[in-house]
Structures are given as structure tokens and as C-alpha cells.
């Protein structure tokens, strides 16, 4: 019996104490865990076939009453019925030919049956995507499926499909060992039975799928007017930082002045307080009408979403400056201008920096709505168009990318803060990066 994990918990009674800081080691460990736990959960759900997996992802589709192509997903309950229907259709053909009256089919229908072997061959590396309509190549695959089914290695053909392949091959090879349109058989071929693997719903792609799609999104070359991923990211960052910077440029001086002079505060703050309860997206159509459908209204939306809060926060930060510092400066002969420039501003700067960090976070949260208004653009366009088509493996990389960029900018700013403000007491908490780095070294 291993009790090591419990020992770690037991030794650290501190873990259960209210408002006691953990040792740096334990803190780093938990920080790491806070990222690894969701990732591990995602992996476990994705890669353990008997956990959840309510769907079946088809390697071989069906061509019966309901058509499914390879890659489609069907419910776990419906899957046996789908296979049963295909089997029954084949049984009818077989009994007819045993009775000596073989069923004929149009060559189009037979070609379709022939091509059903295509996708699973691609997935086994026996065929290129481009050859999916090359009947001569697929014709040869039927021979392989009949004579040497072991070449379907990665995703083997089921026993019954191997049997179907042998029976079909007898018909196909009757006239010629190679594909020849003229001698292509008229006798109706047996349909392959749908086969597939347990799968999670399309809205929960596996980590590696998301990773691969993300990689593919970034390496995809620009095509007919559609911007590359890098260009899209640039657009989005432009909107976030554009809105944020304009908000900061107005809010910082105005907030400092309003926080310093009660008259200005009473003139601006009550309205800002009211304005912030009007949700920024409510102005979307108005902004598009006034500013056009492209970059400007999107920046303006981020601006409207962040400015009032930021302004009020800076007013408060300014008022929180210790009044006795101002009095001390006055008894040292400082004039009003000097009080503002040499006491108020430097005095609130470390907190102002944090306020701006928080505001930048808000700006990121407005991004998606901003990009949806007017002409859809940037990263959000992918989320929107691909999400509607249920290509969620295309959506996740973008969502994660936005999170990663927002988070890492903030962490970078947190890490820089003591470098900008060396006088702020060292009681500061190490940033998450610092903690993870410490853990790694």
C-alpha cells in the first residue's frame, strides 16, 4: 500500500488552515496542478473509449435509406440499426442471386458502392485524398481487400466486410482484373456494412485534434482574400489594444484630475456611473451606422466597454492616495501643479498600472462581440463561421489562443511591475510564471 501522497497532505496541516500561505514548493505544485488538472480531465474523457463516448464515428458510411459518409457521427443507439439495415439489403441481393435471378444495377449505383471503400483506405494510408474518385485505383483496393485484407492495418475491415469484399471481387474480376468502364459489371454489388469507432460528440474534439487543427490553421497559406491566421490575430489585437489605449488615454488624465478635484469628480463621475450600466453591445448597431462596418466601430465598442469602469477605478485609486503625503508636500512648499505632477501621479502609479492591467482584461472580453458587429473579422470570424458548421475542432484553437494571449500579456505585465516600481514593498506575490519557472528549475 502506498501512503506517500497522504503523507504529503498529512505533514502539511497548513493546507487546511484558514488564510495560511503555503510553502513556495507547495504553491508551485498547486499552480502546476491548476493547469494540468483540466488538461488531464480532457485527455481522460477523450482517450478512454469506455468513458462517455456517446457517438460512433464512421470509417465506412452507409448508402441505404439514410446516407452517412465516412467521418459522420451517429448515436451509439442508432449504430446497430444502421448496420442491420445494410445487412438486410445485402441479404436480399444474396437470396435473389441464389434463386438464380441476380439483381442488376445502374453503373452509377455500382460505382458508388465501389467508392465506399475509398475513405477507409485513405485512413489506412492505401490511397491519397485525391484518388477518392479514381475508380481504377479503388478497383485494385477491392482486390486487396479480398485477397490480402491485412493491408488494412490501422483500421481493419470487419470480418463481414472482408467477406463482402471477397464476394464483390468475384463479380468485379469476372470480366477483367483491372478497371475497365466497358466491362464493368452490371450485377448489383453488395454494400459495405457501416463500421466505426466510439467517439465523443463533435463539440468535444480530442486534445490532439485541436492541436493539429491549430497547427494547420497557422500553416495554411492565404487563399482568395481570406487573411492568414497571423493577419487575423493582428486584426484582433489591433481592436483590443486600440480600444484599450484610447480608453486609457482619456481615462488616466481625466481620472487623476477628477480624483484630485472634487468639482471635476462631481461633474463627471455620476454620469460615468450611470453610463457603465448600459451594456456596450447595446450600442453596436449605432456604432456601425455612424462609424462604418469595419475597424472603427469595433474599436469604439471596446472603448465604450472599458472606459467608464476604468475612469471610475482611476478616480478611486487617486482618492486612495494618503492625504498626508499631499499635506507633507504642501508644507515643503509644493505648489498645486507640483502636487499633481510630483506627488499624486507618482504616488498612484503602481496602482494605476494594476488598474490598466485589469482594464486590458476587460478589453479582451469585449473582443468577440466587437468583431461580430458590422463585417465579421479577425479571430472571431473563424469562431463564428466554423462554429455554425459544427467544426468545433476549428473553434477551440482560436478560443484557446485568445485566452493564452490575454493571460500571457497580463502575466508579463505582472512580472514587469516590480521592475517598473522598485519601491513597492517586496511582499508582492510571485507571478504564476515565476512560480512555474521555479518549479521547473
Amino acid at each position: 500500500m502506498t501512503i506517500a501522497p497522504f503523507l504529503i497532505l498529512g505533514k502539511r496541516k497548513k493546507w487546511l488552515e484558514i488564510r495560511k500561505d503555503l510553502s513556495p514548493r507547495a504553491a508551485s505544485l498547486l499552480t502546476l496542478a491548476s493547469f494540468l488538472t483540466p488538461l488531464a480531465l480532457w485527455c481522460i474523457i477523450s482517450y478512454t473509449p469506455f468513458l462517455w463516448h456517446p457517438d460512433v464515428k464512421l470509417d465506412i458510411g452507409s448508402s441505404g435509406a439514410t446516407v452517412y459518409t465516412a467521418g459522420d457521427q451517429v448515436g451509439k443507439d442508432y449504430y446497430p440499426q444502421l448496420r442491420q439495415e445494410a445487412r438486410e439489403a445485402n441479404d436480399q441481393l444474396l437470396s435473389a442471386s441464389q434463386a438464380g435471378e441476380p439483381v442488376t444495377a445502374s453503373s452509377r449505383a455500382n460505382i458508388k458502392t465501389l467508392r465506399a471503400l475509398g475513405p477507409i483506405s485513405v485512413r489506412n494510408g492505401l490511397l491519397h485524398e485525391g484518388q477518392l474518385t479514381s475508380d481504377a485505383d479503388i478497383f485494385q483496393l477491392w482486390r486487396q481487400a479480398a485477397e490480402e485484407p491485412a493491408v488494412f492495418r490501422r483500421i481493419p475491415l470487419s470480418e463481414e466486410n472482408q467477406e463482402i469484399a471477397r464476394q464483390n471481387w468475384t463479380i468485379l474480376s469476372d470480366a477483367s482484373e483491372t478497371y475497365d468502364k466497358a466491362t464493368f459489371p452490371k450485377e448489383k454489388l453488395l454494400g459495405l456494412i457501416p463500421q466505426g469507432k466510439p467517439a465523443n460528440p463533435v463539440y468535444l474534439p480530442a486534445p490532439h485534434e485541436v492541436l493539429l487543427t491549430g497547427w494547420e490553421q497557422w500553416t495554411r497559406p492565404a487563399e482568395d482574400g481570406k487573411p492568414t491566421m497571423g493577419a487575423r490575430l493582428g486584426q484582433s489585437i489591433g481592436i483590443v489594444f486600440g480600444g484599450f489605449l484610447v480608453a486609457a488615454l482619456i481615462a488616466v488624465p481625466l481620472g487623476v484630475i477628477a480624483g484630485s478635484f472634487d468639482g471635476i469628480s462631481k461633474l463627471f463621475e455620476p454620469f460615468a456611473d450611470f453610463f457603465r450600466y448600459m451594456p456596450a453591445p447595446a450600442f453596436a448597431t449605432l456604432l456601425v451606422a455612424v462609424l462604418g462596418a469595419h475597424h472603427a466601430p469595433k474599436v469604439a465598442l471596446v472603448l465604450i466597454g472599458t472606459f467608464p469602469h476604468l475612469f471610475l477605478m482611476i478616480c478611486k485609486t487617486t482618492r486612495l492616495l494618503d492625504r498626508s503625503l499631499l499635506e507633507a508636500a504642501q508644507t515643503l512648499g509644493a505648489t498645486r501643479k507640483r502636487l499633481l505632477a510630483k506627488v499624486v501621479v507618482p504616488g498612484i502609479l503602481p496602482q494605476l498600472y494594476n488598474d490598466l492591467r485589469i482594464a486590458l482584461g476587460w478589453a479582451w472580453t469585449w473582443l468577440v462581440i466587437a468583431e461580430l458587429i458590422g463585417v465579421k473579422s479577425g479571430l472571431t470570424e473563424i469562431i463564428d463561421t466554423q462554429g455554425v458548421r459544427r467544426n468545433f475542432d476549428q473553434v477551440y484553437p482560436v478560443i484557446i489562443l485568445i485566452g493564452l494571449i490575454g493571460f500571457s500579456t497580463d502575466q508579463l505585465l505582472a512580472w514587469l511591475r516590480p521592475r517598473f516600481f522598485p519601491w513597492v514593498p517586496n511582499a508582492r506575490k510571485p507571478s504564476i510564471f515565476t512560480r512555474l519557472l521555479r518549479r521547473a528549475s
Binding site: 503625503l325 499635506e327 504642501q330 508644507t331 515643503l332 509644493a334 510630483k342 504616488g347 519601491w423 513597492v424
Partner: protein, 299 residues
């Protein structure tokens, strides 16, 4: 104590002579019928100071004593120009005080050093504010820092200093402007006893070497008697001058004088002024509630 204490008003010849000389000096600070009424947030008035008349001469060291809330801070803030009197006036060298200025430096109990400036920059602040060039400001600031013994710390931030060191910087910062008056509101109140004793000696030393009049608010009787020429005792509700005592303890002062008869006599008198014997609460004989053992006595 076998011998009865002398009267606090009895002074040696040398002390009498000193006071006579002191009153010959020009007037530095004059308060005429000064009153201050605050309005509480609920609108009711608070009479913080009532009819204060004071004359303080050049280079005097005045201690201001009084119970908490009797208006000591208000008095000193009016002189600093941080509050305006409701009636009456405060004069510095005959001129009416109107708003804060570098002529009246102030040291607060809460350390009011600018946390974003190093010790050197803190001391330079007032010099630059009063129009000195950065070069002169820096060299003068260095001299003041040396005077308070913090040369090694001139590039430290306030957060890295102990409480005593911070107050020394605050004193240097205030004195660098060469103010006429140095106002100190319980400057050593937050320091531990040992540091406080050091700072008191420091202050006396500085005061000897600098042409400045000091008003020193404290609630520590020993501190007041050890430092001051005269002790202003305020009575509470409203704050009024209860007595302006001439301190009979001779100069130069040293910590041995804490047990001298003049010192003890003055202390007893001031004690009785601030805490009249009839207002003191007698210790009550509490019943013993719980003893773990028989005869478990502590005394």
C-alpha cells in the same frame, strides 16, 4: 520618597537667567484669540480650540501636551496652514499665516516620506519645490542627510528603513528648507521606547545646531519635560490653554535628569493637570473567580 518634592515653579538662578534671555528674543509665532470649530459629517459642530493666545520666541522648543482629542493636532495644523482658524489669527514673524508654505516645516506621526523617492530625493523634494537648482538641491540634501546620520542610506527607499530612520529623514527633509518653525505632531509616538530615547537626544542636538523654533506635540510627559523650554498644557472640550509651564529643568539636558527633583516635580504637576486625581479610577478589588490551586497567588 523621603524628601518632599520642590515646587515645579522653583528655578535655579541659571534657569531664571535663561528664561529672561529667552523672552528678550524677537517673537517668532503669535496666536491671538484663535478658535476652531469643526462641523461633523452629521452637521453638528465640534469646538476643537477656543481662544488660544500664545507668544513663542525665536529658537524656543515648545512641547504641547494634553489628553487625546483636546486639539493638539488642530493647533499645529493651523500653524502649518493646513487648517484655517474659525476666528482669531496666527502670525509668523508678525505676518498672518495663510496656507501651508516652506517657512513652517512639519513632521507627522505617520511617516509621510514619499515611498517612490529615495532618501536623497525625498530630502531634495522641498529644495526643488522652493526653486533651488537640482545641483544645489542635491548637495544641500546630502549635508542634511549627513547631519541626521543616514549617509549610507541616501539611495534606499523609505520602505527599507526602520521607523526611527524614517523620522530622521522626515526631519532632514523639513529642515532642508530652512523653515522658521518646525512643527512636530507626535513624531516619535510610533517608535519603540529605545529608539524614541535616541531620537529625543538627536532632536536636541539638531535643535542646538539649527536656527529653528520647534513646536512638539506629544502625550509622553517625560518626553515633553526632557525636550521643552516651555510646556503648553491644553484642556479638552473645548481645547483651551490650561497652563503654559516654564520648565525648571536646566540645560544642557541629559537622560540622568529624568530622576532629578525639578523633573519629578514638573512631571507630577503636569500629570495632575492632565489626569486630575479626582478623575482617576481607583483599582477595584475584584473577587477571585477561579484559582487552579490553593494559595495560587501572583503577588
Amino acid at each position: 520618597m523621603t524628601q518632599p518634592l520642590p515646587s515645579y515653579q522653583e528655578k535655579s538662578a541659571a534657569v531664571k537667567e535663561r528664561f529672561a534671555e529667552l523672552y528678550q528674543r524677537p517673537l517668532e509665532l503669535e496666536l491671538n484669540g484663535l478658535s476652531k470649530t469643526f462641523t461633523k459629517p452629521d452637521g453638528s459642530p465640534v469646538q476643537a480650540l477656543l481662544d488660544i493666545d500664545l507668544k513663542i520666541h525665536r529658537r524656543e522648543l515648545i512641547a504641547v501636551l494634553g489628553a487625546s482629542g483636546c486639539g493638539k493636532s488642530t493647533l499645529i495644523r493651523i500653524i502649518a496652514g493646513l487648517e484655517t482658524p474659525t476666528t482669531g489669527e496666527a502670525l509668523l514673524q508678525g505676518e498672518s499665516i495663510d496656507g501651508p508654505c516652506s517657512q513652517r516645516g512639519m513632521v507627522f506621526q505617520s511617516y509621510t516620506l514619499f515611498p517612490w523617492l529615495t532618501v536623497l530625493r525625498n530630502v531634495m523634494f522641498g529644495l526643488e519645490a522652493t526653486g533651488h537648482s537640482p545641483v544645489t538641491a542635491e548637495s544641500e540634501a546630502r549635508q542634511w542627510i549627513e547631519l541626521v546620520g543616514l549617509k549610507k542610506f541616501e539611495n534606499a527607499y523609505p520602505d527599507q528603513l526602520s521607523g526611527g530612520m524614517k523620522q530622521r529623514v522626515a526631519i532632514a527633509r523639513a529642515l532642508a528648507n530652512e523653515p522658521r518653525v518646525l512643527l512636530m505632531d507626535e513624531p516619535f509616538g510610533a517608535l519603540d521606547a529605545h529608539t524614541r530615547a535616541d531620537m529625543q537626544s538627536y532632536l536636541l542636538q539638531i535643535w542646538r545646531n539649527v536656527d529653528v523654533t520647534i513646536l512638539f506635540v506629544t502625550h509622553d510627559l517625560d518626553e515633553a519635560i526632557y525636550l521643552a523650554d516651555r510646556i503648553l498644557v491644553l484642556s479638552p472640550n473645548p481645547g483651551q490653554v490650561q497652563e503654559f509651564i516654564e520648565n525648571p529643568v536646566p540645560r544642557p539636558r541629559s537622560p540622568e535628569q529624568f530622576s532629578s527633583p525639578e523633573f519629578l516635580a514638573t512631571k507630577e504637576h503636569v500629570e495632575n493637570l492632565i489626569h486630575p486625581p479626582e478623575a482617576r479610577s481607583e483599582p477595584v478589588n475584584l473577587p477571585i473567580l477561579k484559582l487552579t490551586q490553593q494559595d495560587d497567588r501572583v503577588e
